[in-house]
Symmetry: C2
Subunit: 412 residues, 2 copies
């Protein structure tokens, strides 16, 4: 099978320049050397469900900028609202009226929320939640699921470089979906338990995604209530894709505090903390701020995004197109005799290959799909947007059919 030709001259030239002036050429989760070979590092354009790399190659985008894009790139409704706000101002000596509108909208949208505050990074929101829980309870221990990602600051970073033991002195671990380990960790914290922190579902990289069981969520709620500790839902990655009221609404379990970011403003830099009245005073007491946290444009973008998500019932739409992709992949997997495991919610799917400990099949599959205009990830959950039409899914499935054939031909 001949692989379609991708243009590739500007990306390597940029990488060469980047290597001189950026340590390692790039940092963090968007570092292309962590992707299968041939993936571009640099992007030029986004429109609806599509992105273009700097060499002009066009892709149906199943990473959605790693989550922020939920209505498609450059959603016209959001961009119009932003245009109007930019014409008057963004970063001023204080917030705009849109701060109040947005906080009210969050409180109306999210059942556990009596109030909201805003930041810029997911890490800002998770760190604020932990600090608020400690301020409210006067306790120190925070329980975190082993392997869960909650941000890129010393207390929770996946890397230990530059991290001291004290940064994590009060972080204890439990296993996701394991109520016994959770109960044991709660006991381990004794009378010093400030909070249990949990992601909306288990979305650790490079392993099957796992939805929380109702039993796990309800047990966590009960244990937090018994201990007087805060249940903090880290909805940074999943927020607004599974349920507009918070991802655990589907389980009937409400957190005390929740961290939001990514999809909240369709790509504009914003994060949020929502909480119940029990934590209002603590939220007021902690000192959290940032130079750009009150900027009006991102709040206007969030207002427009959340209104649109309501109007089109985005979680249901995302689930439908996600299932169209999932069903198509399942059929192709059977037809080509290449076994895969699909996991996680349809809105944020993951595809792993059986007998693929080094993700080599997955990397081959993704490279083949990429060369056919479909941008997938081989070991991180992907993201759907409401700009993905049935036709976009079908276009992607044409690419994945050829990609499955390549994996089968390689002995997959």
């Amino acid at each position: 099978m001949t692989e379609p030709v991708m243009r590739n001259s500007l990306d390597p030239a940029l990488r060469e320049r980047a290597a001189r002036v950026i340590p390692g050429g790039m940092w963090g989760h968007q570092k292309a050397t962590q992707m299968p070979e041939g993936y571009p590092q640099f992007f030029a354009r986004g429109e609806g469900p599509r992105v273009w790399d700097v060499d002009g190659n066009e892709y149906v985008d199943f990473m959605c900028s790693w989550g922020p894009i939920i209505l498609g790139h450059r959603n016209p409704t959001v961009e119009r609202a932003v245009d109007a706000q930019r014409a008057v101002g963004d970063c001023l000596d204080g917030p705009s009226e849109h701060l109040v509108d947005l906080a009210e909208l969050m409180v109306r949208t999210i059942p556990h929320a009596d109030w909201a505050m805003f930041q810029k990074n997911g890490s800002d929101a998770t760190t604020s939640c932990v600090t608020m829980a400690r301020a409210a309870t006067g306790r120190r221990k925070v329980l975190v699921a082993r392997g869960s990602y909650h941000g890129a600051v010393p207390w929770c970073s996946p890397s230990l470089a530059g991290v001291t033991a004290e940064d994590r002195a009060h972080v204890l671990h439990y296993d996701y979906n394991d109520v016994d380990s959770l109960a044991a960790a709660v006991r381990g914290a004794g009378d010093d338990l400030a909070a249990v922190l949990v992601t909306a579902f288990r979305h650790d990289i490079a392993r099957d995604l796992e939805m929380p069981t109702r039993h796990f969520a309800q047990t966590m709620r009960a244990l937090c209530d018994d201990a007087g500790a805060a249940l903090i839902l880290d909805d940074v990655r999943a927020g607004f894709r599974l349920h507009l009221g918070g991802s655990w609404e589907t389980l009937g379990v409400r957190p005390d505090l929740a961290a939001w970011s990514k999809a909240i403003a369709n790509g504009y830099a914003l994060a949020a903390v929502t909480g119940g009245d029990r934590f209002r005073e603590a939220a007021q007491k902690v000192f959290v701020t940032g130079s750009f946290w009150c900027s009006a444009v991102s709040m206007v973008a969030a207002k427009a995004t959340i209104a649109e998500l309501h109007a089109i019932d985005a979680p249901a739409y995302l689930e439908r197109v996600g299932n169209r992709l999932r069903d198509g992949l399942a059929a192709q997997s059977r037809a080509h005799g290449v076994a895969i495991r699909q996991s996680g919610p349809a809105q944020m799917p993951l595809v792993l290959f059986e007998d693929d400990p080094e993700f080599t099949k997955g990397a081959l599959f993704c490279r083949q799909a990429l060369a056919r205009g479909t941008y997938l990830h081989h070991r991180h959950n992907m993201f759907l947007s409401t700009a993905h039409s049935d036709a976009d899914i079908d276009r992607a499935l044409a690419a994945t059919d050829a990609a499955f054939a390549a994996v089968a031909a390689a002995g997959g």
Copy 2:
């Protein structure tokens, strides 16, 4: 003297709504209850050197959004560059070519910089610097000047609410501009000294600003070199206003790592770390990232901002208009027989009143100026922008002349 009438109906109504859905009605450094009575909380518009509150009151703005605005609100050159980038994309699956351009521009502009990385908050940048210094040295202790502000995260927040002792276990203190206390702190860190962190000048709130002495800066450099520790310059607040190459270029002292934010992109959310080759490997090793850190619009804004700052020699311009304001205030102070102390660089001035321990004279002065269309701060350094013309300064001085008269009349 009759005070001019300020419109004030929308702001209180918004505050009332905000009190219900935002803890304390507002958070952080832009909380208007920390300003003199009558200051607005909510803003509607900015243009050049002027801002308008939600009630339509117009002010010559001497806070510049607390630092980010250095070319004036909605600078046309920056906004045009942003318009062009917004037409194609912002937050994509990876960075744009502008990341590389901007890193190269920082390296060309800043003598100590062999590389650059980008974030969203000043706290992201200072925290990254500390983490990189620890990763590079394998040591833990970080020296911080007593009372200096380096961000709003637990290891450095000015509030202890929700902060554990361990968050600050490896933070030791020295006194700004006091080489003996610095040397003692270095000795106290023993062989565990990772870094000395220092602000560009002493800009702690509610006290006279203080420029670093050359002796202090050079001694810090020598002590860091002797110990093999990193000298980290926190240029978040002052960066690009005193010297485009970093604020300590004026002293002939170069840091190993520097944190930037605020003015870097004229109001667009961006922060940066710059460093020398000695810290390149450590910078590559630490895991720091954020959902919006690679967004193209803020990088395009930074490129346009820094280019413009070069083109017009912004630090010199800011110094000139800052001195026009300072000289005018000094003359008015003498004429009204109201003694003041002016401190700090002319680009970031502070005005305090003699015999004013509770800042009541300062608050009265600022309220009177505010009612005459001049937005000042009574105990935090202010900021000039290149959009401030001589006429704007003179307009402000007309307001401050009346404000001095009011302070004198009140027995000041």
